[in-house]
Symmetry: D2
Subunit: 464 residues, 4 copies
Amino acid sequence: MHPRDVLLQDKLGEECGIFGIFDRDGLAVQEITYYGLYALQHRGQESAGIAVADGQTIRHHKARGLVPEVFDEETLDALQGGKIAIGHVRYPTYGDTGLYNAQPLVIKYKKGFLALAHNGNLVNAEVLRNELEEAGAVFQTSVDSEVIANLIARQIDEGLEKAIQKTMSKLKGSYALLLMTEDKLIAVRDPYGMRPLALGRLGHSYVVASESCAFDAVDAEFIRDIKPGEVIIISQDGLKSIQMPVPLKSGLCVFEFIYFARADSTIDGISVYGARKEAGKILAVEHPVDADLVIGVPDSGTTAALGYAEGSGIPFGEGLIKNRYVGRTFIRPSQVMREQGVRIKLNALRKIIKGKRIVMIDDSIVRGTTSKKIVEMLRLAGAREVHIRISSPPVRFPCYFGIDTPTKEHLIGAKYGVEEICRIIGADSLGYLSIDGLLKTVEGSSCDLCLGCFTGEYPIEAEC
Amino acid sequence: MHPRDVLLQDKLGEECGIFGIFDRDGLAVQEITYYGLYALQHRGQESAGIAVADGQTIRHHKARGLVPEVFDEETLDALQGGKIAIGHVRYPTYGDTGLYNAQPLVIKYKKGFLALAHNGNLVNAEVLRNELEEAGAVFQTSVDSEVIANLIARQIDEGLEKAIQKTMSKLKGSYALLLMTEDKLIAVRDPYGMRPLALGRLGHSYVVASESCAFDAVDAEFIRDIKPGEVIIISQDGLKSIQMPVPLKSGLCVFEFIYFARADSTIDGISVYGARKEAGKILAVEHPVDADLVIGVPDSGTTAALGYAEGSGIPFGEGLIKNRYVGRTFIRPSQVMREQGVRIKLNALRKIIKGKRIVMIDDSIVRGTTSKKIVEMLRLAGAREVHIRISSPPVRFPCYFGIDTPTKEHLIGAKYGVEEICRIIGADSLGYLSIDGLLKTVEGSSCDLCLGCFTGEYPIEAEC
Amino acid sequence: MHPRDVLLQDKLGEECGIFGIFDRDGLAVQEITYYGLYALQHRGQESAGIAVADGQTIRHHKARGLVPEVFDEETLDALQGGKIAIGHVRYPTYGDTGLYNAQPLVIKYKKGFLALAHNGNLVNAEVLRNELEEAGAVFQTSVDSEVIANLIARQIDEGLEKAIQKTMSKLKGSYALLLMTEDKLIAVRDPYGMRPLALGRLGHSYVVASESCAFDAVDAEFIRDIKPGEVIIISQDGLKSIQMPVPLKSGLCVFEFIYFARADSTIDGISVYGARKEAGKILAVEHPVDADLVIGVPDSGTTAALGYAEGSGIPFGEGLIKNRYVGRTFIRPSQVMREQGVRIKLNALRKIIKGKRIVMIDDSIVRGTTSKKIVEMLRLAGAREVHIRISSPPVRFPCYFGIDTPTKEHLIGAKYGVEEICRIIGADSLGYLSIDGLLKTVEGSSCDLCLGCFTGEYPIEAEC
Amino acid sequence: MHPRDVLLQDKLGEECGIFGIFDRDGLAVQEITYYGLYALQHRGQESAGIAVADGQTIRHHKARGLVPEVFDEETLDALQGGKIAIGHVRYPTYGDTGLYNAQPLVIKYKKGFLALAHNGNLVNAEVLRNELEEAGAVFQTSVDSEVIANLIARQIDEGLEKAIQKTMSKLKGSYALLLMTEDKLIAVRDPYGMRPLALGRLGHSYVVASESCAFDAVDAEFIRDIKPGEVIIISQDGLKSIQMPVPLKSGLCVFEFIYFARADSTIDGISVYGARKEAGKILAVEHPVDADLVIGVPDSGTTAALGYAEGSGIPFGEGLIKNRYVGRTFIRPSQVMREQGVRIKLNALRKIIKGKRIVMIDDSIVRGTTSKKIVEMLRLAGAREVHIRISSPPVRFPCYFGIDTPTKEHLIGAKYGVEEICRIIGADSLGYLSIDGLLKTVEGSSCDLCLGCFTGEYPIEAEC
């Protein structure tokens, strides 16, 4: 197991975050990308990279680690002088921790240089790789970007725009994608809009990012979400949008609202914070309970807990304190200390827990191991009752579109019913938000939602 | 300026955290100390160190960086086999960033080895250093531990206990101190009790720590606070307590409750969380305002904000979102981005701020620069009014006992009245908690409080 | 300029060294490759890499730095369990110091995995790249290995052997090449034999290396040189040799004997040490001088100096002492110290120089800057006369086959005649070995020699 | 065992090298000290450090590693602005590899700052430590410098000069010592002159160094050796010399000439190169043999081999080739490869060894393990006979003055007679230089020599 993860929350894992800028104001594009990625750090902690284009060529730097670990003044200075930049943060996936999967991927092909940064997962990547290999291609990484780069290179004769369109027609799966040539920045969102992607403005310059919180971090202004199936090409001539054909129903990953995105982001017209708070309110209606205190599992359960408190009238309190330094590289605890694992990260506030009937709100249950430990911790702190409310439906199916879900045998919602789960984790009661309830929280979104991990029904056929 | 600090909050700075263990169960003392220090990481991020004693000698490792940066499996393994351990995390003080100030300090003297870990500040350190130098001593660091080590070494003839007592009679200032010989662990708290220090039990083993949250992290049980002027000597024979003479009035630093300590710690009988929440409630009474939403400046302002909400009946909300990765080593932003500094760390939630009259709770104002930027950010996010409430009185005087206060010219409370401060930071109104209000929040503490930074009256004469 | 080079000798630069092993004795192939590369470290100090195949897949590790810097126990352990390994050390070429040019290059293609390690330079690399790009290939590095990998992948349908042969028919230039699949090790030497490559045996296992000194380092036995145009395929079934068509005249780089190879290597039947000593002897005949002492510029000039002493009857002495630690990463000296540059590396032995007429032997003059400084140093040490003898002809032409030659304007032999050079470097006389003399030193070689840098006549047309 | 040493030669170990400069020309003292230390790197590879004084205070940097590893542009820049500097390189002694023994030691005492750099070993260090501890001193390292610093601090009342003299009267053992205050540089050589120390001039500035080769490296001019018992004080007022009482007979370590010093240094009037060559000549007379070729074990045996060749008339040749990169940090070879250890470092030149009767010259035999392996290697390379000649007498006794000798049971000369040693290492004959012969090589030295390791008679009583 990856050391950094030993104490991470028992959560689904995001794949990546991307950021890009096309400068028209003489800005230091590498520095702005650095801060943009930093605001997206929650989307990936495995590796980080920035590529810059200066009209002639593309330089880049990427390595394992967090954004402030990968870049220092020296490495950023080596990227000075560019007019366009794209950056990428990568989520740690088990098994492929080598450097070579860091992005952006920079290639040289027939028409010059191309840099790619991809968030998502192609379900037909293997098929496409095989086809490309049949046609003589060689691969040096296992990232989808390399497949996409090869497809573009092989269809470039009618120009880049055409090549991107042809490539998109072959790709099956989720992708929010940034492409950079020596003098162009291109942003692409898959026809289902499975991964978010937004467009912003910083002075006269354009920025694109996985989430709007990255715009705030660099003082840019949100313009609009990039639409499912939209290709935006930014060049010295300005911005051009091409709308590719889209399916009847799009499928933005609903977990962006539940857990992945930062609360201060707005995605496809929906405030992440708003959706989370609303989820808590609806949960209070769907699963009321007589209790003394509502607490959230920090950081992600807090907003829904506030909503539950508001909906139920039960007071909200901070019952669990999180070590602010969790998440850094960490020694693997020995067996004895591992038992202690959750305590190192979280601590119950005896003072306010003691003698109370507690409603504990979390955003999801994946394996159930962490929930079990927190329930124990609350009881040890003197909780009279512990009622768990989850601000999303049970995760019962794997994701094929880039989200790191455990295998079914580790997915507690796939194996057990709600009552059994309640017993396993030792709670007095357990209630999940219904799918209808969840949908209400994102009402008005400009995008339909993918609910595959709850329902097993995916916008695209999964098996390829 | 220290790069790690560029984006840190505009706060007073803590000096250090200490942790110790005397094993009687065959525990891995170096690992438990590692996790204990990790729980105290908020007290110091500059350097970390652990020393272990195995009956014969003392080995140690210390370096700049956070606990998980300084120690890895290799360095911890090199500390295996000990029966006693002490550890230290150090706050970054400007000017002395060299390695040599890292603690524990390990010395060899007449009676063998001695390791020291100190939290606090001696106000007569310079005097004592000069006296020792007059008597021929040489110094290799600028830490008080070295002064203390020299004093003990020079008074050791009647034994260590006596030497410690004689040494204490010479020390003026604050000190929570851990001493370790080849076979003893000694915990000392200064006669005013200015820095906290607690005793715990883990199986049959003893632990000591700056804050009780470190006990929870290693699954130890809190026994009691070490008393002002108390010396606790733990050896194979068990635990022995010596009570040194104490002044009429003790003086625990009240900022432990306001900001330094972790909310889940209990210090001298007072829950830190409880004190902070109560401060918010009293603030609501002392400085009521007609508003729509109470928000806290995360992380430290949140608890008081909940108290204010409860006290005022105005709903609480999360109006500011903090980047979870702030605090890591960071590039120095260029001028343009520095303006953006607070935004990189904090972001306003437009969705819930817009159109509202906001009460923003923070625990203190030091320089005022951050407050000003947050007010601007809230107004940009659409706040109709911004009322600031501070859950402590104005910081108007320097601290001589180990807290890092800026010089008077940078201390906004020392230069301006409340109205002027309100104008400078651009708020619609500003209210500070009164000293009486503050004292109410810690009512029942087993220790009197030092309020020197608010009143200029210190338990000990400051100038020496 | 690369810091490591600031004080390096004013020499032509080698491109790379390669090593491979096919194990049939249960050896730790990664460790043997490590020591093999270490013995070849003189051929490249920029980066090092090892790839191992275990029948199923290929793992590898490569990074910038010397062999002992790139690999430690952890990185070598991660390569355990292989049956075949190939390794590469790379010479620092200016301009492309990125990680991505480190070798071995490992690719995934139609038939599985392929690792490549290349020493040499394709003169038609650009042409081949363009052709491949036209056919849709994308490139991620600027190394020739990537071109070769693509060519093989596109011609694989009739099997690997055929693909290698077809690929060789397209390659123009120098290449000693190791290829590794999941279960095969293949060694290829270009039809001109421009770069050396030898085959050895270690127990029942096979090894291949750029130079025979690597066999000695791992206690392997030299079998024979791989022939120009020969392809050797080693698999579980044993060793198979395919001889490709070769030109009438081969062209092994003569600088291997003059400077590149280690003195204890034997290449194509010629002892490097023997050739160097012979060069000194012939030089004594071609350019006799009345003098008191023969000295060599260490390390490379020493052997020829011994030969000159033997040939001339003038005693040999160590007149110049070299700092044993030169070559490590080094700060760039400030202007003042840069003048001092050569002194930091070399020092004249006043004791034996003073009052003497010195014959100073060096193996080559490239820019002439170092020679000038050494002459000054010898005069300061009291030399009455300084006669320079060079154990190779004047370097007057660039190399297109992988040797790092400066541009013509920095190549002193390209701009000036011998007399002028003598005047520029301040010597009392200067004599170069003749081309005929040089050829005598390698008489009996199983390979013809490339003398392009002296004559401008190359075995292959250079311009492509 | 220290990884760096695994493949080091089987030699006695030096303790340290020191360098100092007092600037009167506006030089960058930290940079000159860097290059000075670099020239002394052969005297110590464990750690390096530089301290600079600027009239007000002393700054320093020290760490484990070679000079170019410890210092880069950033660390050197942090030492800018000084007028005086001292530096130190330390030899790796087993058991104390912690950072804290790196030098210079910088202390603060009654009169301000003091930096110390020491080469040598006090035989009464333990006694002095105990006395100081009795008087209340505390120690943080195990280096003698800390003892010296404490002694000076306790006797400072009559001024630094007096304190140094009083301190010297208490020190027993070897010391070449540099002291630096805020505005003075002081060089001290022990009354026996056991360790070398020389004075030089660079423009109007003064330099001091363990060996004169460091002066050449920074283009300074040798003035003279510092005399046994001499104290040189350099201040803005110029240079002042104090001569302390000295014994009838001094005792410079003769191993400086045999092995430690660089050949291009001149120590106490004797050229190291000259002494080594002479040793070879005398050896040829003392132990003649009928043979075909004289070879030296590189690097240190080469000069004596040239002398032997000259003395005997047998031709000299390079029969052993050394890997130029040996000495860098290195993985510990697994058992199989360890057998191969010497081969990794050295290789026999079959071409010139084969069929010949070889005289192999080495400067000393310590454990004998390396000699045995080289003899085997030469026989494998086809040597008909292998005659070993050692250019110093048998090392039979430990050194108490700072040289790292193995315990008697590992010291082959302490356990066996010459004939037995010859048999153990498998040579055809073995001859050591006689003590008389050795003394002839340093005839005319301004210092008497310590021959303790050969005779067991030491200038000072060893046991304290």
